[in-house]
C-alpha cells in the first residue's frame, strides 16, 4: 500500500507520521508537497498534525487553498481514503470534506496529554481492525479541538453512525471529566457519509511504539492497510471476473 503524507508550511507531525507509516507499519510512504499538483499514485492521503500556515486566521483555514488540496478533494470524491490527524482534521473541516467545526478548548488552554477514546463504529475503513467499544489510549495536542456541529448535522452524524471516536475514561465511560476539550457529545473523530474520509483530534502516530508508552494508535493504520488490501483484492477479483 502506498501512503502519502501532505506537507504544508507549518506542518510539524509530518515526519512523525511518515516514520510510523514507513518504519513501524512497514508501508511505502511518500511526502507530498503542498505546492505540487500530483498525488503520486498513493492509495491513502494523510493530512498530518501541526500548525499549517501558523494556524493564522483559524486553524486549518488557509491550508485548504494549497494547490495540492484540489487534487486531494478530487481523490476523496472518487472514493480515495483520506485521514486527517489533528490539524489535518481541522483542514478537512475547513475544506467541507467533513461536517462540523472546531472551537477553542473549553478551558482556553492548549492541551497535550494522553486521553482515552472509544471506538463508536468499528465498521469503518479506519477502524475495522478494532472492536466496537474498544478503548484506545492515545495522546492529544491541540488548542482548537472542541468539536461543534449544528443540531441538524449532529442528528445526521448520529443517524448515519459517522461518529467514529468519543473521549471516554479508562473504562470506556463517556464523562464530562474525560471530555477534556469540551467537544459536543465528546466527539473525537468523525467520518464522512461515504465512509472514505476521517478526521480525529488524537494522534495515532504518537501511540504506535511501545517505547513511547502506547501502541493503541496502530489500530487506525492497521485498519487502513486492511481496507486497502481488501480493495485491491476486490479489484483483482473483479478484473479476473471480467476476463
Amino acid at each position: 500500500m502506498k501512503f502519502g503524507v501532505v506537507q504544508f508550511p507549518g506542518s510539524n507531525c509530518d515526519w512523525d507520521t511518515f516514520n510510523v507509516l514507513q518504519n513501524v507499519m512497514k508501508q511505502e510512504t511518500v511526502m507530498l508537497w503542498h505546492k505540487d499538483h500530483d498525488l503520486e499514485g498513493v492509495d491513502c492521503v494523510v493530512l498530518p498534525g501541526g500548525f499549517s500556515y501558523g494556524d493564522y486566521l483559524r486553524s486549518g483555514a488557509i491550508a485548504r487553498f494549497s494547490p495540492l488540496m484540489r487534487e486531494v478533494k478530487g481523490f476523496a470524491r472518487r472514493g480515495g481514503l483520506v485521514l486527517g490527524i489533528c490539524n489535518g482534521f481541522q483542514v478537512l473541516l475547513e475544506m467541507g470534506l467533513l461536517p462540523g467545526a472546531m472551537l477553542r478548548n473549553k478551558d482556553l488552554k492548549f492541551l497535550c496529554q494522553h486521553v482515552h477514546i472509544r471506538i463508536e463504529n468499528a465498521g469503518t475503513a479506519f477502524t475495522r481492525a478494532g472492536r466496537m467499544g474498544q478503548v484506545l489510549r492515545v495522546p492529544i495536542a491541540h488548542f482548537d479541538g472542541n468539536y461543534y456541529a449544528p443540531p441538524r448535522t449532529r442528528d445526521a452524524l448520529a443517524r448515519r453512525r459517522q461518529v467514529v471516536f468519543r473521549y471516554c475514561d479508562a473504562n470506556g465511560a463517556v464523562t464530562d471529566e474525560a471530555n477534556v476539550n469540551g467537544s459536543l457529545d465528546a466527539i473525537a473523530g468523525v467520518v464522512n457519509e461515504a465512509g472514505n474520509v476521517m478526521g480525529l483530534m488524537p494522534h495515532p502516530e504518537r501511540a504506535s511504539e511501545a517505547a513511547l508508552g502506547s501502541t493503541n494508535g496502530r489500530v487506525i493504520f492497521a485498519s487502513l492497510i486492511q481496507t486497502l488490501s481488501r480493495r485491491k483484492a476486490g479489484a483483482g477479483r473483479k478484473t479476473k471476473g471480467r476476463r
Binding site: 508550511p9 500548525f51 497535550c112 495522546p139 513511547l212
Partner: protein, 740 residues
Amino acid sequence: MIDDRTLAQHNLTREEYDLVVRLIDKEPGPTELGIFSVMWSEHCGYKSSRVHLKQLPTAGPRVIQGPGENAGVLDIGDGWAVVFKIESHNHPSFLEPYQGAATGVGGILRDIFTMGARPIAVMDSLRFGPLDNPRNRSIMEGVVSGIAGYGNAFGVPTVGGEVFFHECYALNPLVNVFCLGLARKDRIFYAKAEGVGNKVLYVGAKTGRDGIHGATMASAEFGTETEQKRPNVQVGDPFTEKLLLEACLEVMEKGLIVGIQDMGAAGLTCSTTEMAAKAGTGLAVDLDRVPQREADMTPYEIMLSESQERMLLVAAPRNVAAVQAVFAKWDLDAPVIGEVVPGGRLTATFQGETVVDVPVRAVVDLCPAYRRPSRPPIKTGKTRPLPDLPVPADGTDILRRLLASPAIADKEWVFRQYDHMVQLNTVVLPGADAAVLRLKDGRRPLKKGLALTLDGNGGYVRLDPRTGAKIALAEACRNLACVGGRPIGVTNCLNFGNPEKPEVMWQFEETVAGLAEACRAFGIPVTGGNVSFYNETEGQAVYPTPVIGVVGVVEDIRRTVGPGFKAPGDTVILLGETKDDRGGTEYLRLVHGLEGDAPPAIDLEAEKLVQEVCLEAAERGWLRSAHDLSEGGLAVALAECACHAARRTGCVVDLADGLRTDALLFGESQSRIVVTTTKARLRALLALARRKGVRASAIGRTGGRDIVIRQQGREVVRLAVVEALRIWKAGLPNALRTKP
C-alpha cells in the same frame, strides 16, 4: 562634545565613550553610537562577568565547541553531536509576559539551528512571585502560554523544566529557556563571514521597529516607568521561524553557505560585526536592501531593530541563486544586502551615504571588562541563625501543606500546555527527575538516549552562594542519575541583580567559584550560557539564581528508570545520609516563615559516590524506581514516588535515625536518592553501595493504600495515597484559582 543625556540614553559611561572615540579615531555618528551602545551593553558585552567566567572549566574530550559561539557542541558518539544552550528572557517577560516568553523560545531555537542542528527539545526554568497576588498569576499564565504558543507551533517538544515562587521574583520574574538540537558531528556551522567577495544574504522576516534597544534595556534596573518600555519587547512569529528552520537546514544540507548567524539581541549590528570579527574580515552592507516592514526607518533603527525570525547568511556568489531558490520554496525573502570585504571594517550605506564605518574588532572584542568591587552582604532579618523551633506534632498535616504548595505540587497545569511529545522522542514525560529522549539515526531509533534537566535554588544561593551553586550542579547531575543518565556537559544561566552593587557582585563571584569547583569535581565542561544582570526593579533584586542545565547520555534507553513505585512488595532504600539540614528548606519557609541561616551542606565527593551507586544499579537493571530528595525532603519524595506510581501504591517505612522529626521528614540534606528494588536484587544493591562506601538503608517496603512513615517504630506520617495525589494535583490549579 556629546551630552550626558545622550550618553545615558545609550547606557554608556563617559569613560566608555572616550574609549570608543579612541578606538574608532573619530566621534561616532548616531548609528555608530547605537552600535556601541548595544554591543557594549552588559547583555552583549559581558562587561561585569567576563573576568570571572574564565574560571569555569570548558575543555573535555567530547567538546567540539565551547563558549563563544551561539551554543556549545558536544560529541555523543555514532557521528552525532548535541548543540545546546540556555538563555534568559527575564526583562521582556516582565513587561509583556506572552511575547517576552515566546520570543525567548524563538531566540534560543535560532541559536541552535544556526549551528546546523535541528532543535529536538526545549526546557524552561521559571520563577514568579507568590500566586496569591493576581499580577503574579497573570504573569505566570502569560509566560506559560507564550512558551506554549511558540514552541508548539514551531514543533519542538518542551520536555521539562522547573517552576518556583518567591516574593523576590514578583517584579523580576525569571524566564530561562534551554534548547538542545541534534546535528551530524561533521556538519556544524559557525558564525563566520569568511571569503572576501562572498555575498551576505538577509533571510527571514522583515525588519520593523520592534525591540530597538532590547539588549540595552536588559542591561539596566527597572524603575516605575517600565510600562513605557513595552515597545522594546519584540513580537514572535513561530510560523516564520519554522519556515526559517527548514530553509536554513536545507541550504546547509546542500552545502550552499559558508557561515550563518541569527539576528538576536542587537539584530543586524551583532550579526554583521560578530561574523566579520570571527573571520577577521570586514563587511560592506547596503541598508536600503534590508527588507523593511515599516516606512521611513532610519539607519539607526534598521541596525538596532530586534525583529524576530531573521538570519544572516554568507554564501559564495555562485551559490546565491540556489540559496534564494530554497528560501523561495519556503516563501521567505533572501536578498543580498552586502559583501565580505578585506580590512576588518563594517561599513553600511543608507541612501547613498556611509552611515557606519567602524573596525569590527573594536565593537566585538574590545568592549571593556570590569572587575567590579564586591563585598559580602551583612546578614539581616531572615538570615539569622535558626531560633529554637518546636518540633511540630503532626507530620502528616505538614506533608499535606507541602504537597499543596505551588513549588512542590504537580506541574501538570504547566506542562500539559506544552506539546511535549512532537518528534516522537520523549521516552520519559515531564514531571520525572529528568527528561529522557531517544535518538533516531535518520529513521531508526538508537540504543542510546539523552537525559536533560534544569536545576537551581535561589533560596540556597542567597544564604551561601558558593554552596548553593555547588548544590545546583550536584542536584542536576543527581536528577540525571535517577533516570540512568551520565552527565556530559553543562550550560548555565546566571540571574542576578545590579552588578554595580558590591553585594550582588560578591554573590556572583562566589556563585561562579562554586560552579567551577563542582564542574571540576564532576569532570564536566561548561559549553556556554548566559548572564542576566540587573534583575532588579524599584530597588528590589532577585535572589542570586543560577540555573544549571545538564545534558547526559543514557547508554541503554530501555534501562531508563522513573520516580514512581512500580509494584507492592519492593524494598525501599535510602541512599545517602540524613542530617539536621533545615536551613533554606521549603518546610522552614512554609511552616515557620523563616529562610534559615545556611543551606544544606554538600560534599561533592560523597555526592558523586551516591550518584555512582544509583547509575550503576540503573544500568544493571536493578532499580524499579529512583527519585531525588530535594524540596520537601524525604516525606515529600516518598509521597511523590507514590503519586507517580501507575497503580496507586503506598509504602511503609521505618527510620532508625534519632534526629529531630522535622529534620528527618522535611530536611533537605543533599546527596540522597530513594530507590526501590526487588527482593532478588536487594543484596547485590546493598553490596554495591557498601563497596562504594555509600550509606544505603533498607527503610521499608512499597504497598498498601497509605504513605506511612515511622521513626524508631513511632508513626509520624500516615497519608492515604489518593489524598496525597488529590492535594498534589490540585495545588497549582488552586493557587492559580483555575480548574485542575
